[in-house]
Symmetry: C2
Subunit: 442 residues, 2 copies
């Protein structure tokens, strides 16, 4: 279990002064991890502070820490975060505490660390770690109901939904970091009135607004992870856009689930926000009283802390029309919000997903990525996909500039943002995840 | 396209004389690859010849080859086969040719290579390569129909089956090599007459008789692999037992497919038999004339060579009762055959599976493992799982010793064997894959 400690103290400020702006995603209470480089140099691990990145390889050269924090910082000298993530919670937490103190206003390490800062604007990002297995859950009951009603009008929410944290294995190889571009996928589809299927470019390309959960410490095969111990296994979270070819999905998904409809690309945000940084945003356990209580292996006395996380999420669209002739800065601002929701609406918590995943003895490994499934809220305008927002493509969205969308068009850029905010706690931001659709290959 | 060449010549014999026995799985025409060690030493790559293993690290020290074969042998000095597999078909083929000549009767390399032989009986095996993504297909129409009739009596074979090589993403972390033992998994199940599900040890534990296909050379994301080029991407094949918890599967699998019912363990045979070694066993393309012809991206002028592979497969069971008080050697012989079939009955070929997998631009990677799905033949006794052999557990099998089985019991060992055999070609064996079920953990 993660407790609040001095790293969460809202009174602390950083000598990296831009981190103290109230709207910064990356104040000293956040300290998320990524892998980055400056053009022409090698990739390395870093921590965000304001609009700067602390180069951990450069910082480690000063041997500034002791004990577990020193070991964790040494592990960050690698080209990705896997070696550090494998060390386990005590090491992550010790490193976070030491970084918090080192970046805090008045720290004696300021003079050593200042030359280790790199402006975020100059950074290129890579995947933060080598992703092992990728599992995608289906944890929003609002999404499951809305999608179920499109695919199975008579039977939208299946009887297992309120008992089983439904998930499926996903494709790891095609996951890339924000900034990804990919060609519109082709695939086999069959129109309802067609005699036979055909193969060609996807006509119903969609995004899915998800969160990603990185496993830090795994479990040996055959062992389970009790729900109360799941916090020790989760390193942190990111934003995840799980692109979906809806027409391919509709034709291929029975009986074994989505396959090529989801395996052409998935995009994550570069920063892993640690579960410890998110601790102030745990909410109570929100399951409706009229719903069945979870089976014992998915229940806990500690529900208050194993509960939901109130992470605000939004999706923005930038069409080629919006990019127009404007300057790069104006372009970046010229996007239209499609929806907004919160991860607190998830029917299953992260802890329940992890405990369920290992409940058959399946060995989770450091670097595994769990998707939460599309996060749609209870209101129609809180839907996390175009499939839902347009009622399966039947009700086009009209954008402010007059353009319409049922599904995504070539050149469209989809941006997702996430952040936590409330009175009495520091804002904890995820940054964003952005990716752009290229035309289908000939 | 793979052509027959001197490595397939049935007249060649080896100076490793046991390889020349007509019933040997590993004659000089086979030359499969594995990763092995002698107890106490480090894992290394090897090639089977008769009942011996050629230690490729030791052989490489002699620098016996030139050109691409030399480069491929150098890549085999690694602790697993990934670096060699990544090199591509021309390198695999050159190495095979050089090894064939070196192990052939009369080779001048005999004196150098003889000290590099290790008796197979002394070897311990590891996974032959680091498995990246694992995908499981569903390529036997007989299996799909039989299982479909149990899960969906009204709708056994779905309309997409004859058009789409159905597959789903599987769990890579829990795949291990022959000799694996694993605890009976626990999971959430719901009896048809129960009000609510419960969590406990699986009661319907089953094997699945599959083949595994290892990708050697991948494709860049966004590119496809034309059907006629799939041979250049497939390094080779192994046997695969894809253990299944049928009661967990029945409750969890809708709408996103199997998840925890399959992720607790999968077992592969240690030897990768190269696609080149299997070339003499290509058969014509067997799709029934009354069935729809595949879409163009799954069709080829070269169907005769891209066709099925006639690989004989059998499943054997050894119960704790059979192990009894006998000697280890007698134990090994005391097994009961449950079924026998051939991979030639597969509705989809390996080439079609690979071309379909990459048809949306999904990047396959060296080390990816594709399961073929359970290989059941047209006759009921050719079924590749107990689910089928016992009609969903309703018709128990009575074994020769009087024991009965619907599903597997603790202590049961399941062994699968595979081989190719016909007039005018050398026998090409896969060896076997064996694994044993331990009781559920408390």
């Amino acid at each position: 279990m993660i407790s609040l400690n001095e790293t969460h103290d809202v009174n602390h400020t950083s000598w990296v002064s831009c981190a103290n702006q109230p709207d910064s995603d990356f104040p000293i209470q956040n300290l998320p991890f990524a892998v980055f480089r400056v053009a022409g140099e090698s990739f390395r691990c870093g921590v965000a502070i304001g609009n700067q990145i602390l180069d951990l390889k450069a910082a480690a050269a000063h041997k500034p820490f002791e004990g577990k924090a020193a070991d964790a910082l040494t592990a960050c000298e690698h080209e990705n975060l896997n070696p550090m993530m494998e060390l386990g919670f005590e090491y992550w937490s010790a490193l976070r505490l030491s970084l918090s103190r080192a970046l805090r206003t008045g720290s004696t390490l300021e003079s050593q660390f200042k030359p280790c800062l790199v402006p975020m604007a100059k950074a290129e990002f890579a995947l933060p770690c080598q992703i092992r297995d990728y599992t995608d859950f289906y944890s929003s009951i609002y999404h499951a109901t809305a999608v179920g009603s499109l695919f199975r009008p008579d039977n939208p929410l299946l009887p297992n939904y309120k008992w089983v944290p439904i998930g499926y294995h996903g494709r790891a190889s095609s996951i890339d970091v924000s900034g990804q571009t990919f060609h519109r996928p082709a695939g086999q589809t069959k129109a309802p009135d067609a005699d036979q299927p055909s193969y060609g470019p996807c006509k119903r390309l969609d995004y899915e607004l998800e969160m990603g959960v990185f496993i830090g410490q795994g479990n040996p095969m055959g062992n389970r992870i009790p729900l109360d111990q799941t916090d020790q296994h989760v390193f942190g979270m990111c934003l995840l856009n799980d692109w979906s070819a809806r027409d391919v999905q509709a034709w291929e998904y029975q009986p074994l689930g989505p396959f090529l409809a989801k395996s052409f690309a998935s995009t994550i945000s570069p920063w892993i926000v640690t579960l410890e940084a998110l601790a102030p945003y745990r909410t109570g356990y929100l399951r409706p009283a009229e719903d069945p209580q979870p089976l014992p292996y998915l229940s806990s006395e500690q529900n208050s802390t194993l509960g939901a996380l109130d992470i605000q999420l939004e999706v923005l669209l930038q069409t080629p029309g919006m990019k127009g002739s404007q300057t790069p800065v104006a372009q970046k601002q010229c996007m239209e919000k499609l929806s907004q929701s919160s991860f607190k609406h998830s029917y299953w918590t992260i802890g329940q997903m992890v405990a369920h995943h290992a409940s058959n003895g399946c060995n989770l490994q450091s670097g595994d990525l769990l998707g939460t499934g599309t996060q749609s809220g209870p209101k129609p305008e809180e839907a996390g996909s175009l499939l839902e927002l347009t009622k399966g493509g039947k009700q086009p969205l009209t954008l402010t500039n007059g353009e319409q969308r049922t599904f995504l068009q070539d050149g469209d850029t989809v941006v997702m943002r996430g952040w936590c905010e409330k009175e009495g706690a520091a804002r904890i931001g995820f940054g964003d995840v952005s990716a752009t659709i290229l035309p289908a290959k000939g």
